[in-house]
Symmetry: C2
Subunit: 455 residues, 2 copies
Amino acid sequence: MAVNSSIPKGTRDFGPDEMARRNYIFDTIRAVFKLFGYLQIETPAMENLSTLMGKYGEEGDRLIFKILNSGDFMSGLNATDVTNLPVAKITNRISEKALRYDLTVPFARFVVMNQSKISFPFKRYQIQPVWRADRPQKGRYREFYQCDVDVIGSNSLINELELIQIINEVYKRLGLEVVIKVNNRKILKGIADVLGEQEKFVAIVTALDKIDKVGKTGVFDELRTKDISEDSIARLDKFIENAFEGNDKNGLLTNTALFDDSEAGRAGVKEMSELFNLCKNLNIDNVEFDFTLARGLNYYTGTIIEVKAKGMEFGSICGGGRYDDLTGIFGMPGVSGVGVSFGADRIYDVLLELNLFPEDITSAVKLMFVNFGGEEEQYALKILAALREAGLSAELYPDAAKMKKQMAYADNKKIAFVALAGSDEMKSGNVTLKDMKTGDQKKVSVDELMKILLS
Amino acid sequence: MAVNSSIPKGTRDFGPDEMARRNYIFDTIRAVFKLFGYLQIETPAMENLSTLMGKYGEEGDRLIFKILNSGDFMSGLNATDVTNLPVAKITNRISEKALRYDLTVPFARFVVMNQSKISFPFKRYQIQPVWRADRPQKGRYREFYQCDVDVIGSNSLINELELIQIINEVYKRLGLEVVIKVNNRKILKGIADVLGEQEKFVAIVTALDKIDKVGKTGVFDELRTKDISEDSIARLDKFIENAFEGNDKNGLLTNTALFDDSEAGRAGVKEMSELFNLCKNLNIDNVEFDFTLARGLNYYTGTIIEVKAKGMEFGSICGGGRYDDLTGIFGMPGVSGVGVSFGADRIYDVLLELNLFPEDITSAVKLMFVNFGGEEEQYALKILAALREAGLSAELYPDAAKMKKQMAYADNKKIAFVALAGSDEMKSGNVTLKDMKTGDQKKVSVDELMKILLS
């Protein structure tokens, strides 16, 4: 009786090669987080439904995976309820837990719950999967890992600088050249101020975000559909002209007169200028100011960061920003934080496409002993024990199977060397060592074997 | 508006210290798995409900966390259904996914789905959380990690030997002395054969498993309540007498006459003897045969393994065994496998109680620079960049806060050294270095600083 053996759509199995590559990414990111003094935490996969609902907008609420209460979950629901109640209400009656949707809200909840134990500023990192009931498509999954790094409890721009350093160190280690685009939410607010269109903030910023793709006129066209007056559009036009100043987006940082009428705008420019000075002091030259960068419109209140692979159309491979009141929703107001999130799946795709994974990470085992059974097996086991004692990953094929089968196994597993030891070798205390790459074969003593494998 | 910030019962947050200790355990286990040539896989947290249901018994089915279908999950259910259908049926109408309950069934599903890509024997390890809707209690959680290591596609006892070596290497590295108890399901079957009570197999084995706690008479008393005849009990009594032979449970392995009437029994004894010979060849002397060991009664068909900390009442800290037909339920029959699972939570508790965690794992950051703001900040940032370049985990306190606050932060984070650099130090190119353990303080050059931190 064969049972259907599939997995839920949008989810994936990771085999040994994929795991080796994914671990390479995670290990690299983790090592850099540690280098900068960040400490790891983990939160449970399940959160109370009330912790998650209402934090990601209406669409987000729908995309959260809810967990059915255990036991007789229908007891709180009768036939009339089923007919009369909307699905959302029924959900609340039969489910009180859900899978986390991101790492940020659970982190905020963690900080509030553990505030007495935490020494602020709290520098934490968290590498865990999240789940979203999104329609699966290429590069978008229902289970995927996020690698988040945040500082909470400090307003200093040193934190932003540190995140930029972390981004650069991670991608340097991964061999990927990147551009870090930054903006400040206050500057976006300033632009709405200058236009006198504060209540149209979202429409303006959403349109402006597309200027690289659709050009200035495209932005203006979109704004017209959102009932922005021609007067405001003319003001935006002039603002963009002045801000770009000779095609240099940094123009805005020196031409502060543009924000004479906006306190938020001036504050944003001041913060950006300070951040650029900090970068300059450390010779960091791949940070670009981009006043059109919006990065969604969620909870950010200050700096916005977005990272792209240089000269590639891969979309963002890291992003984040500052949020002034993340824990406020859980009753702990006035704590500012800033952080970025690395998307492991996107990075994986980029490294694979650019052939940037080190070759040796998917060949984990250094040596396999061919199994000839009997005394030869005992002989091999003793040498193996010594090799492992020396830290070498090695194995004995478990069955005295046909040579061809054993060699195919070693080949498939990309094992570097194969050792053969029959009665001849046993007598002389040697093994015959075959280099699987070159095919070269020679008799060596156990000491020589050790030397070759450790080199 | 404060929102309740709690987490679901039976789940846990892990703060930095707990994470450091847990990682120490996971890293140790992972390193040993690799040493023996095992490759890592990961499977999704969610499986199809049909993959999991019916694999863990009725109780297990109830303890599986089911995930509510997204969208209008109630559409397949009307008011009559709600009144008339049992909860299990309703579950199937509104849920088609569930959280994995262990790593074994998903592994079997993985092997069947990926059989064309796998080169057998397949040696895999998997370290991931599992979820069970058990009643939470001390040491039992609704989310917990399993660390599983299995070989599938080989009948050789070399695999059992290798698992025993892995167990010993893991606990050697963790500094814990262990006893590995082994038995064979065929021997248990043989005992039922000898008693002529094959159909009472479960009752006999369940009772026998308690002999260490309740003694022989306790076992017999329990058997009487299960309608085992006095005749059979007398036979068991004699069997136990002979098998123990001078209080040595190994007696059974030499006194094979006891299984003259049971083919299964003889096969079991033969396998156990072979395994003990393999262990002897490698001077492994902490493996004990125990024919009363039952280890639940799930899918095992051959060797059973259970590990205990020597001289402690902690329960099992690792266990597993051989199963001859794990993938059969998914339509791929006749593939034998053997594996063990390390329970990270139990190991954590044991190491903590015995004070076996290395002291330095919870102090991850080597140095903190006190922040004096202004130029001093720039000076510190440049030295920091050099330290990190050398691989040293170091940070600058992000704000020019009061000295007391900054020092308290370093203290709480168990940072080893604090560096102070004011205008004096800047002029001479030095820093003042404070050893946080001894309180000693001295002026050093950047080169000296590097040397001290790297030593």
